[in-house]
Every structure is written in structure tokens, then in C-alpha cells.
């Protein structure tokens, strides 16, 4: 009996140690980036003095700031597309029977499970065949399309759990479907929509694989960072990375609060 207890203690300690090591592995790169963003000289150890120069450089980097604005624009538009198309898609999947429904469901989810490159080259091929010039518009269409799946899955999950008797009551009392949706259904899925929208925004802000193929002359932020990286290691990248990290951390916490309120 005591042997068993000792064994269990060793096991529990082993699991804790393993988990701690994994946490260290997950956070090491982030720590490195943040520390190096303040490093005065180059990107190698040891640190020889701290500086905010890399941040100052960043705020003077016109193309980079422009690319950030482009990214905001793309992400905002992608959210609109994904929500406007995704909500009716989720409603249809939940409530309607139609021929080809299974295919529809599968195709909508494809961009989420396929490597981004496949969706990227498909859309590139499609736009070029249609004679459409690559620009931020093609990037927006690509992001919107690829991220519909996020809204569909989140909203559909919520619809499935929803109690339909309220809707039935509204309809029995003569409310037309649109009013029923707006006053009964939508309040029930609102937090799911908000959470999904936030997710789409964050994913779009960091999307590279699809963007890589659809980008015209104006860069998005990840693509601008990508070209900086391709040119070699520059401490400026550490600074922008730290800022991106802080922004995504804030977005996650916001999303987390939203989910918390709902449950």
C-alpha cells in the first residue's frame, strides 16, 4: 500500500515536472523576442545595454505602418464577409434540409483543415483566370472566404444547444421569421458571433499562407514582416513582434472575458 502511494507521488511529481518543462518550451521563444527587442547591439548574446531604438525605428517606418493599416482593413472586411455569409450558412445547416447539404458543409470547412497553400493557389488561379488583378481586394475575398468556416462552426454549435421553444412561441404568436430571428434567435447566438468575429479578426491579422499568393502591391503586416525576415535578422523585427504579441494577448483576454460572460 505504501509502495503504491509513493509510486503515485512520484508519478504526480513527474507529470508536474513534465508540464513545467513544456511551459518553458512554449514560452522560451516569446521571452527571447521580448528581451532582444530591448537589446542595443545586434541579436546575439550577451546583452550589452538596453535601448528603445528599435521601437523608435518602427514608428518611423512608413511602409510598415501602412501595412498595419492594410491589415486592419483586410481583417475588418474579412470579419464582415465571414459574419454575413457565415450566420445564414450556420442557420441553413442547422435548420434546413437541402440537396447537397453534406457537400456544402464539407466544402465550407475545407479552408480550415487544408494547408493554407492549397486554398491560396486555388484562389490565385481563379482570380487570374477571371482577369482580376491582385490587390487588397483579392486578399480580403480570400480571408473572408477562408474564415467563413470559423463563424459557421461557432454559431452552429450554439444553435444546436439553443432551446427552440422560444422561437416557436414567437412564430406561433405571428412574428415573421425575420423578426423572430432578430428578437429571439440573434440574442441567443450574439456572444458566439462576437467570439467568432474576434477570432476571424485575429486569424486574418496573422494570415500568411493565403495572403502570400493573393497579395498585390500593397502589403499586409505579416507580409511586410516576412519580407523583413527574408532580408536577414533585424532587431526591428523583435520590436514589432513584441507589439504584435501584446496586441494578440489583449485580444485573447477580451475574447476570454466574452466567453466567460456567456457561461
Amino acid at each position: 500500500m505504501t509502495r503504491g502511494r509513493v509510486g503515485r507521488k512520484v508519478w504526480a511529481a513527474g507529470i508536474t515536472a513534465g508540464a513545467a518543462a513544456v511551459f518553458a518550451f512554449l514560452y522560451l521563444p516569446i521571452a527571447v523576442i521580448v528581451v532582444f527587442s530591448f537589446n542595443r547591439f545586434s541579436t546575439s548574446l550577451p546583452l550589452r545595454g538596453l535601448t528603445l531604438d528599435w521601437y523608435r525605428l518602427l514608428f518611423q517606418d512608413r511602409p510598415l505602418i501602412e501595412s498595419l493599416l492594410h491589415s486592419f482593413l483586410v481583417a475588418g472586411c474579412a470579419v464582415v464577409i465571414a459574419v454575413v455569409i457565415g450566420i445564414p450558412a450556420a442557420l441553413a445547416v442547422d435548420r434546413l434540409k437541402f440537396p447537397g447539404k453534406e457537400l456544402f458543409e464539407r466544402v465550407v470547412l475545407l479552408p480550415l483543415i487544408l494547408p493554407g497553400i492549397i486554398t491560396g493557389v486555388s484562389l490565385l488561379n481563379f482570380f487570374v483566370a477571371g482577369g482580376i488583378r491582385l490587390s487588397l481586394t483579392t486578399v480580403i475575398l480570400g480571408h473572408g472566404t477562408a474564415l467563413i468556416s470559423v463563424v459557421v462552426t461557432q454559431v452552429y454549435a450554439r444553435l444546436k444547444r439553443m432551446d427552440r421553444s422560444q422561437e416557436e412561441a414567437a412564430m406561433d404568436l405571428g412574428a415573421p421569421p425575420w423578426r423572430t430571428f432578430w428578437h429571439v434567435t440573434f440574442p441567443n447566438i450574439r456572444t458566439a458571433v462576437l467570439g467568432a468575429a474576434l477570432l476571424v479578426f485575429t486569424l486574418s491579422m496573422d494570415e500568411i499562407a493565403v495572403t502570400f499568393f493573393l497579395i498585390g502591391r500593397e502589403n499586409t503586416l505579416p507580409l511586410a514582416v516576412w519580407s523583413m525576415l527574408r532580408q536577414g535578422i533585424t532587431p526591428e523585427v523583435n520590436a514589432i513582434s513584441t507589439i504584435i504579441f501584446l496586441m494578440s494577448a489583449v485580444a485573447i483576454l477580451l475574447g476570454y472575458r466574452l466567453m466567460q460572460k456567456e457561461t
Binding site: 509510486g7 503515485r8 521563444p29 548574446l45 435548420r95
Partner: protein, 287 residues
Amino acid sequence: METGRASGWRPYATLLLPPLAWVLLFLILPYGLLFACSFWKLTPAQTIAPDWNLQNYLHLFRNAVYLRTLGRSAAIAAAVTLLSLLLAFPVAYWLAFQVKRHKKLWYMLAIIPLWISYLVRAYAWKTILGTGGVLNAFLVGIGVTDQPIAMFLYSPVAVIITLTHIYTPFVLMPVYAMLEQIPPALLEAAEDLGAGPWRTFTRVVLPLSMPGVVAGCTFAFVLSLGDFLSPLLVGGPTGIMISNIVVSLFGAAYNWPLGAAISLVMLLLVLAIITLANRLEARTKYV
């Protein structure tokens, strides 16, 4: 009741039109066009002619370079999947059975790295693994080596480390979701019946977590198989993966039909894996 509900919505099937039209235009058509393009060919004048043939596929299967690269990509993806699972499991287990306080916070901390820009993380590993990087400084510092080791960066190993860092949280989430559903009483029962922790783990915990393991592993494998950014950033010439070939065919090497054919092979491979995984997931489901 069921029919009444359905008939209330049926006249409003117009609801379906915008999503259906969008999916047809921006998903089904592009994927279909890629499929068609893979059977077309590049004319000597560098235009794409809808001249149906199997040349691209024959070229693919006759040239060792494509199959070898595909094989390497699969091997890298398999290593990433295995490592991600090995790293994710202890954390998921710890979260599910050992953490008593601030469980949600710890879970959040475990998946926050998921939300950090892909490029930032790949770049971080470049900084860590490089000759002037943190790892080498550490090794030289503790006297393991007196010269920085160049082989960490620009190798398949660097790609594997970077992708493992990226996909560990992806595996963690579904595994944790499964572990959390296991009633602690089940573990106590196993213990009361005399099973040690290891036996409880292999006979109770692991089988019950299988659907999550399969889901997470599928995700990690499929997405790392198609990755082209990490190989470009940290892979070097020996870390080239199949998607890098696609990138170059759609770019400088300019041969879209061949690129489309490789994409199609990847697509079919991925769909086959997902179908297989779905079956496996359904079969391993206990509850």
C-alpha cells in the same frame, strides 16, 4: 412538432442563397479550376493551354525529386505530430487531473502561444538556434563546446522544432477536452483495484483520450505537411518541403499546371488522412 418547426423555416430558404452562391463562386469553382488546371499544360509561349493530358502527373511520379520531397515532408510532419503529442499530453493530464486552483488560467496560459504570430515564433527559433543565438551562447557558456554549433539552424531539425512549437497547443486542446470528461472516480476505481499510476494511464486514461489524440494529431500532421514558411525561414536547403516546390512553381519557376498537380496530390492525401482519422475517431469513442 418537428414538421411544424421545419415548415416555419422552409419558405425562407432564400436564407441559403448568399452562402451557397459564395461557396460556389469562391470555393468550389477555385478548387475545381485547380483540378482542371492540373490536367492542362504550359505552352512554349508560357501561357496555360486547356489541352487535357496527364503529363503533369506523369512528370511528378517519374521524377524522384518530387516524391523524395513529399516523403521528407511526411517524415517531418510525422516527427512534428509525435513530438507535439508527447509535449501536449503531460500538460493536458496535469491540467485535467492535478491542477486544483486557477485551472482556467493555466489552460489559457497553455494555449496563448497559439495566438502568437506564426512568423514571430518562427523568427524566435531562428534567433535561438543560430550560431550567435541563445542556445549556442548557453552551450559555450557552460563549456559543452568552445565553438558555436552551426548545424542547429537551417536543417530539418530546426523545421521540426519550430513546427512542434506551433502545433503543440493544437494537440493540447482536443486531448485536454477528452481528459476533462473522464470522471476522477474512474481513476480512483482503478487505483482501488490495485492498478499503479502507469497501468491506470495506459488502461484507462489513454484509451479514453484517443478521439482527442486522433483529432489533434490529424490537425498537426496535415498542417505541418503543407507548411512552406518554416522551411524557408529555418529549413535551409536540406529542409525544403513539398509546399516550397509549389510556391516556386507558382512563382519564379512558373509552371502553374505542374504546381496545380502537386497541390492536387497534396489535397487528395490530406483528404484521405482526414477521412481515415474521422473513422478512427468514431471507432475509439467510448462514450
